[in-house]
Assembly symmetry: C2
Homo-oligomer: 140 residues x 2
């Protein structure tokens, strides 16, 4: 059974950005805004391998993404699970993310893993195991 | 000098919710949506002392709040610093937060610390030391 309920899925369908959290080497949380796409129980984020968030995810093997809507009462939830950095088969997700970022009506042409490596793009993937802090999802 | 630049201050003025992150006992990040008010270099959040976020903040002495706007390119920033749970002198901040939550045109009457203790309300305060992940703040 998926960790992501139908209601939580609606939130992910409706929104395209969330706040990624990882744990820094000093044990403190690190947060930044990211675009995401969902693929089953996975949330995918395009980043660069030297970014602190990517290094945190690789080192700790865990990340979470907090997603909310834009109007009161702010339906929201946090999606957490094992995290990893993907370097192969990342063309489709990267194209989907670029479309979200640019707001284009069509995704850009898919790039090969080699081309993406050349421009230093990787995918941070969260395999969602827990959904916490769910609020007002019944109002979606 | 304040850790909060004029631009970052504009973001805090414009928004009323953010994603709070603390570190759970297992070392993983914990995130949830909260209303906040700013008081100088402090960000104040109303919560209950038994909530996991409050216990994390007391145990670790640190928290961060990620704030974003609602439209592309999503101006955003993360405000971090020492965190503590306040139980005295919390009437004004609690009233200001309740006004934000209810959307009322006026804040409710201020309650005494004793009355707030009776209904189990405390304030989680972050003394902002660092602003990270600032994006597109010049577009505010």
């Amino acid at each position: 059974m998926s960790a992501i309920s139908e209601e939580a899925g609606k939130l992910l369908e409706r929104e395209r950005v969330g706040v990624l959290a990882t744990t820094a080497p000093d044990g403190r949380p690190r947060q930044s805004l990211v675009y995401f796409v969902r693929e089953g129980d996975r949330l995918l984020i395009s980043t660069e391998p030297q970014r602190l968030k990517a290094r945190d995810a690789e080192r700790t093997g865990w990340a979470s993404l907090a997603v909310r809507t834009d109007a009161q009462p702010y339906p929201s939830a946090t999606f957490s699970g094992p995290a990893q950095i993907l370097r192969s088969g990342i063309g489709p997700a990267t194209a989907a993310l670029m479309q979200r970022i640019t707001g284009a009506s069509e995704p850009p042409p898919e790039q090969s893993d080699e081309d993406l490596a050349a421009v230093n793009r990787v995918i941070l993937a969260i395999d969602v195991e827990r959904v916490t802090g769910s609020s007002y999802l019944d109002q979606l």
